[in-house]
């Protein structure tokens, strides 16, 4: 139960932060990516502001054995970069730039995002379902 409550607290605060920061507004995201247009630096303040408390949280994990609900903290991922990390990040960035939405803000703006917002989420879900077979094909090609 506590686990569910904390997850809801986190999701709610995440959504509130996305709205307050302006990241649910696609023009602000595209304004940040549009270095050669009317550049909008807001996103740098959002990312910088978000990294501060999270850096403190990572530091605190070194002083505790477990999270509050008793689960272990996530281990450091394998430092190996791999082709899927690069290919995936490039595809994600291209889609992010095209309309100015990434997964968090897309969900957070569901209630006011209209048809476009819902269509984006459905396409994103379809893409997520397609990702596993695509990953298998890429790995197969990379192994040759």
């Amino acid at each position: 139960m506590l686990r569910t409550i904390l997850a809801a607290a986190s999701g709610g605060l995440f959504g509130a932060g996305l709205l307050v920061s302006g990241m649910t507004d696609t023009t602000k995201v595209q304004g940040w990516l549009d270095v050669f247009g009317a550049w909008d630096p807001t996103l740098a303040f959002v990312l910088g502001g978000a990294i501060l408390p999270m850096a403190l949280a990572w530091h605190l994990t070194t002083r505790r054995a477990k999270a509050i609900v008793g689960t272990p903290f996530p281990a450091r991922p394998d430092p190996k970069l791999g082709h899927n990390l690069v290919i995936g990040s490039v595809l994600f960035g291209a889609g992010w730039g095209l309309v100015g939405l990434c997964p968090g803000p897309a969900i957070a703006s569901l209630s006011w995002g209209g048809t476009g917002g819902i269509v984006f989420i459905l396409a994103m879900v379809a893409g997520m379902l397609a990702a596993n077979p695509i990953r298998a094909r890429i790995d197969q090609a990379a192994a040759i």
Partner: protein, 143 residues
């Protein structure tokens, strides 16, 4: 006006980082939006579906409840071009699952622990986003 946007960006950013800190210190989990959604979509994360569902439900409901606080109409300003929207959604869905993270997972949670994967991913998605803007806005003029 622009300066106010920076301040709200910083305040909102601190809220986002605190949300990620609650998920990490409370539940021992990385607050990555694409991972939380993706685990439900491809059923790889059904073992803790309650946690994922609670996170996503609050992610939708809390900002919806905040809308009356705004005097102006809140809008996403998303393009009317649904072909672009579908293409972008597919790219974001495929890309975030291949890369195993998005702006929140690799960006916020990864960079803050000096994860090489998070930093490399962030460099590539920022570059790709910037190139998409040059190509589709300044060269082709479709966005």
């Amino acid at each position: 006006m622009i300066e106010m946007d920076w301040i709200w960006g910083l305040v909102g950013g601190l809220m986002i980082g605190t949300a990620a800190a609650i998920f990490l210190l409370g539940n021992g989990r990385i607050m990555g939006a694409s991972g939380i959604i993706g685990g439900l979509v491809d059923r790889s994360g059904l073992s803790n579906w309650q946690e994922r569902a609670a996170f996503l439900a609050a992610l939708v409901v809390v900002p919806a409840l905040m809308l009356p606080l705004y005097n102006v109409e809140v809008t996403t300003n998303i393009t009317d071009n649904l072909v672009l929207v579908v293409a972008a959604g597919l790219l974001v869905g495929i890309g975030t699952r291949l890369a195993n993270g998005c702006t929140s997972g690799h960006g916020v949670c990864g960079i803050s622990r000096f994860s090489l994967r998070g930093m490399v991913s962030t460099v590539f998605y920022l570059l790709a986003g910037g190139i998409a803007m040059v190509l589709f806005r300044h060269v082709l003029g479709v966005i």
